[in-house]
Amino acid sequence: MFNYFFKRLFQSILVMIVVAFVSFSLFNFVGDPVNSMTGEDASDERRAEVREVLGLNDPVYVQFSRFIGNVIQGDFGISYQLKREVSDLIAERMPATLELVFVSALIAIISGVILGVYTGIHRDSYISNIILVISLAGVSLPTFIIGIMLIYLFSVILGVLPSFGRGEVTQLGFWTTGFLTTSGLKALILPSVTLSLFQMTYVIRLVRAEMMEILQTDYIKFAKARGIKRSVINYKHALKNGLIPVITITGINIGTLIAFSIITETVFQWPGMGSLFIKAVYFVDIPIMSAYMIMVAFIFVMINFIVDITYYFIDPRIRLKEEG
């Protein structure tokens, strides 16, 4: 048990270090932060001075080890552009992103499961085909086009939903929430639907495939033969078993949602971490970029770690292999 646990933990830490190093060295190719920081009319001496103060003259590995040393102490540094603590900036932005991701995941799972079950049971029906075609569009159209189309329809033409921002937010300690005001809830609709479409399509297809497979299995046939009601078979026996892979996949995909939210946040001017990151890229704000990458990597690694550990308890085969 502990052997397995520590092996996984060690792997996770290794992944984190590699991610941190790769992202950090990539930033050497995104451009020169000094140019954005000093403006185009600064003198050469001033540029050299800023470069020196920021330690950009040191070799990459020196910069990297300094960075890792600070990160371990919880210090992500100061944003070049905003000149504020990166950890503060991320903490301020995190509630917006997490609320968006939470609502999107909810939409994706609930509607994905309902539509997936429907299309799984009524395989060749007219409505199933329409759902599948539309979901295909959802997965193949880029997020920003879907977002702009929704904005155009619901904000410009119908004028019922806001096109940007988070509406009115309520401060609950360190957390800001949009769940408690009407404008906050209205502002959530378009971005979360946009963000959820990709995942929803995924869930629909997964649930549909699972349902179709399970409905062919022997125990369903026996249940049918025993005369159990169709709805009980479909929802109690078939769906329950079909949901196991869905839960695993969506768990892992929460990380993807956070990463995907960059585009959605930019389109809807959602004040989350994604839009902070995009702005940082534009400005070559290395501290924010590194912190964001490390954080997203951390979320991915953590989810994977938890999934692995959960498997240990769920799947007896892993336990047996370890013990045997």
């Binding site: 995104v30 451009g31 020169d32 050469d44 920021l54 603590e85 702005k279």
Partner: protein, 536 residues
């Protein structure tokens, strides 16, 4: 009357109650009959500290809240602001008389020492304004209402430079630990970066960076407040062009000073909206390295084609800027014959006349210069800095191809482009040909010359070097006799225009869009002045 009388009565009661309630609601959430402008642009001010960032949107926000000794008016003319008058007592000594009765937003009085403090703060290292006012040697308060500024030799454009220096309260800054602008090393957030205490017509009452900033009218403002009827401004930055336009069309914002070129017609076609346009104080041009012995990217070895003036002239005649204006810029540009914008001292209509588009002449010039079959070169372009920058380069390359010059495009993001133009790429290779745009915050040609033409100029990456021009740049920096100085500027332009040192393309155009009833004067630097804004 079959219905019981209390039926109506009850209904009326309900109605009255709902009216009263909604009035109360309005009273709570919006001051009665307040005029509000919801303003949007792609970015937000980076910091409220007025000296920490020398950057457009940051100054746009500061300008509503903070004031300077002098300020640019709607047409960029220099007007007195906190200084009532000024005089020079020696070539390098200026005395400013400070306006009386001016109060900061926190109620304290403005004194001469606040002004001296602010200028000294702006010229102290962590500040981003250091380069702008490096000619200021010292600023000191002589009395409560006079300030003396001593410059390093005569400085004819001191006033232009001072328009960018905002005045803070000395006591407030010191009490809040921001005696100097943000220090890179210090590692803490400065109070003055998220709070403002100026003397301007608006004060900031709410600020959530990148989300929402609320400005309320300062009722104790010293100036003439009959020029505007705006009580509240809300700044709501929207980075995405399409979303910003959608928010304007849906009425969620009232005004934006940054309009994407492709959406201008769409906004004009909306009944409730209007678009205003004016030439911008930024000119786009190509630089061609004429000083290096050999070009890095060319097939011509051992000599540099751009060193020959006939080649540069051939490149000039090959460009059809009217076509680029129509096809690439959708009419939103002013083809230029000089690399500085109208309104800058030294710019004249005659100098802004382009040489004719004449590819046949270009071919002849190339043949004369010894390149009848043209040559190859790489053009470096930004793809996210100027309006349609990459598309302009693509169009220009097609035009150069017609005269046999085979240009390869290397387009990249601005942070890479500018550092490669300035310092060379990773291998130390400098750019042979590049796109650059130059704005002139001081509205004087000296700014253009000291950066782009002086042989030591930090953006002179065409390696232009002319002893007479260097002499003139130095002289125009210190000459205080305006006529003599203007003659120097004219002579410098004569030399560099004849030399075809740079290939002028066009002046960018500023567009702003608003609801029809919202009137914000348009200015060539894209900066709104809400003290001249009205809601009708």
């Amino acid at each position: 009357m079959g219905l019981p009388s209390n039926f109506y009565g009850g209904n009326n009661m309900k109605k009255t109650l709902s009216i009263v309630l909604s009035l109360l609601f309005m009273g709570i959430f919006s001051p009665a009959f307040a005029n509000t402008i919801k303003w949007s642009m792609p970015g937000d001010s980076l910091t409220l500290d007025p000296h920490a960032q020398n950057e457009g949107p940051t100054h746009m926000v500061s300008r509503q809240v903070y004031e300077g000794l002098v300020t640019p008016g709607i047409n960029m003319e220099i007007l007195p602001q906190l200084a009532e008058s000024w005089k020079t007592t020696a070539d390098d000594t200026w005395i400013f008389t400070i306006r009386k009765g001016v109060k900061f937003h926190d109620g304290s009085d403005l004194t001469a020492s606040d002004i001296a403090f602010s200028i000294n703060r702006a010229k102290t290292a962590p500040s981003d304004m250091v380069d702008l006012i490096k000619s200021v040697k010292s600023a000191s308060a002589l009395t409560d209402h006079t300030v003396q500024i001593v410059t390093d030799g005569p400085n004819p454009i001191l006033l232009n430079q001072l328009t960018q220096i905002f005045v803070m309260s000395e006591d407030w800054a010191k009490a809040n630990g921001c005696e100097v602008s943000y220090n890179w090393d210090a590692g803490e957030t400065s109070y003055c970066a998220s709070n403002a205490n100026g003397t301007g017509p608006f004060k900031i009452t709410f600020r959530e960076q990148d989300v929402r900033t609320v400005f309320e009218k300062n009722n104790d403002w010293w100036g003439d407040d009959s020029t505007f009827n705006v009580d509240t401004i809300e700044l709501l930055p929207i980075a995405n062009d399409a979303t910003r336009v959608a928010a304007l069309l849906s009425g969620e914002i009232d005004y934006t000073n940054v309009v994407p070129v492709q959406d201008i017609e769409r906004i004009k076609s909306s009944a409730g909206h209007g678009v205003k346009m004016t030439p911008q104080n930024r000119t786009i041009f190509f630089g061609m390295d004429q000083g290096s012995a050999e070009l890095n990217s060319s097939n011509i070895k051992g000599k540099n084609p751009f060193a020959d003036k006939r080649v540069r002239l051939a490149m000039y005649h090959a460009l059809d800027m009217e076509a680029i204006k129509d096809k690439v810029m959708r009419g939103q540009s002013v083809p230029a014959g000089i690399i500085t914008a109208p309104g800058v001292n030294g710019h004249t209509a005659a100098r802004d006349e382009r040489l004719p588009y004449d590819p046949e002449l270009s071919k002849k010039l190339l043949a004369e210069a010894g390149y009848p079959d043209g040559f190859e070169v790489t053009l470096d372009c930004p793809n996210d800095r100027y309006i349609n920058d990459e598309a302009i380069c693509v169009a220009a390359i097609g035009m150069f191809a017609k005269i046999g010059v085979n240009v390869t495009l290397d387009a990249k993001t601005k942070s890479q482009h500018f550092s490669e133009v300035k310092e060379g790429d990773a291998n130390g290779m400098t750019s042979d040909m590049y796109m650059l745009g130059w704005g002139v915050p001081t509205f004087d040609s000296h700014y253009v010359y000291s950066y782009l033409f002086d042989s030591a100029g930090s953006w002179n990456k065409v390696n232009f070097s002319n002893a007479r021009v260097d002499e003139l740049v130095a002289a125009m920096g210190v000459e205080t006799d305006q006529d003599k100085r203007n003659a120097m500027i004219a002579e410098a332009w004569d030399i560099t225009q004849d030399d075809v040192t740079y290939l002028p393309l066009h002046h960018q155009v500023v567009n702003q869009a608003s609801k029809s009833n919202v009137d914000v004067p348009i200015r060539m630097n894209n900066e709104p002045l809400f003290r001249f804004a009205n809601v009708n």
